[in-house]
Symmetry: C2
DNA sequence: TGGGGGCAATGATATAAATCATATTCCTGG
DNA sequence: CCAGGAATATGATTTATATCATTGCCCCCA
């Protein structure tokens, strides 16, 4: 399985790994495929797996008592999630749900914990990625605390365009439904549809089946930043 | 300075530290005092210090372009903040501001980084505390994404009461202004005042100069949880 | 000791967004 | 290839909350 090995090697976290250890890791990494809407794990599950996205996208979701869904984060190909599993052994704080068809590499925590203990570079990378995540949450909170919904959506779109690898951060290579967007910014589907339609009519964004293009990042930033 | 040493020893993170290392650390820990509103550090500062609260409270704040303040977190006595300084060396993502009079112990990152490298127990504790923080953010986001302001406030009060060490989690030992509360849940001062007054009139909470008592946690939970 | 600035309180009004209601289109799985 | 559920769209109505405006209080310090 040369391809799997190369994929692991290509990840920043494992790039410094000596070959023999990498081989063993490759051996132990199990690949799974998921269909749209399937869960990789549920909130509260014992955190036994560290997951890496090979293909597709995964959303971290949480459900309120009234059934309302909150999307905490959208993971991209190459992203690692569930890394708390290795570091602190408490239950997953959210569920991980497949968006469309995905391929996920899973590593059992016992395997990578050893590596993490023994290879300082891997440990460092993992800690750095936790730091990244924390900064991501700060940003996420900033979005969520903004009152006007249009601002929240604008902020979120710009952020996603930056994260999704694309020419100049203007294309969001993701199939997001209006419901997804609503659950990311904490509003209703109807409001999201109205605002997205307005942004589209004004020529600021273009929304297709495959993704969203930000035609005028400048104007969108204005929407996201100013106090009207 | 026996007292300072004992204080450090009393912290979970340093409790496993061998005596000689603890002594050295005690020596290197500098104590500072801050008045209400003073900043311990600013967003964007180089993250040179790990801070521990000896007395008082500190809020982690961020400012939007329009000057609006967002309170990300309120730290309690014994809490550690700025720990990203040791782990990943990127600028602080938020400012730390003193609430009332505080005493802060500061450790330069070079000093504790060595300890962190060499004493696995300390490293573990630190990573665990990062995990805690991440879970805290998830919870924070959950609050922020709730639409009704009353729910958000109820959720936040219950959370604070749990964090603040008090008999049965019904007393918030903190001087929060209505503005603080507004900035924690992302609303205006007026709306906060109205909702807090209502909750007080209904006998659910009691607000005094020194803190807030939750008289009816059950009713508050209802407010925070139900869909009206 | 007296003023002044921050904080709480409250009313009136405007408005953004939730809610309710219905179509229409679009996929997708059988 | 068809049916039916999901997603998009749009209108009407209600409601929560932002916004504007004013007042009084308290406490801090000059």
């Amino acid at each position: 399985m040369i391809v799997k090995r190369d994929f692991l090697k290509s990840l920043p976290i494992f790039s410094a790994l000596p070959d023999p250890i990498l081989d063993k890791l490759t051996d132990r990494a199990e690949e799974f495929t998921y269909k749209n809407g399937e869960y990789i794990f549920y909130e509260g599950d014992p955190p036994d797996w560290l997951c890496i996205i090979r293909e597709g996208n995964v959303k971290a979701v949480k459900y309120l008592e009234d059934g309302k869904e909150i999307i905490l984060h959208v993971f991209m190909p190459g992203d690692i999630f569930g890394e708390l599993a290795i570091l602190d052994r408490r239950p997953y704080p959210a569920s991980a749900q497949s968006m469309g068809h995905t391929k996920i590499l899973k590593l059992h925590y016992t395997h990578c914990r050893d590596i993490c203990e023994n290879v300082p570079e891997v440990r460092m990378k993992l800690i750095q990625s936790m730091g990244e995540k924390q900064r991501g949450f700060v940003d996420r909170l900033e979005t969520a605390m903004t009152t006007r919904v249009e601002k929240r959506i604008a902020h979120m779109l710009l952020k996603l365009a930056g994260a999704s690898d694309s020419k100049g951060g203007t294309y969001i290579n993701l199939h997001l439904t209006r419901k997804d967007i609503a659950n990311m910014v904490g509003t209703t589907i109807e409001t999201t549809i109205r605002i997205m339609s307005r942004l589209q009519k004004e020529g600021i964004i273009e929304s297709t089946k495959t993704g969203i293009t930000i035609l005028r990042p400048d104007l969108l930033r204005e929407r996201g930043g100013e106090h009207e």
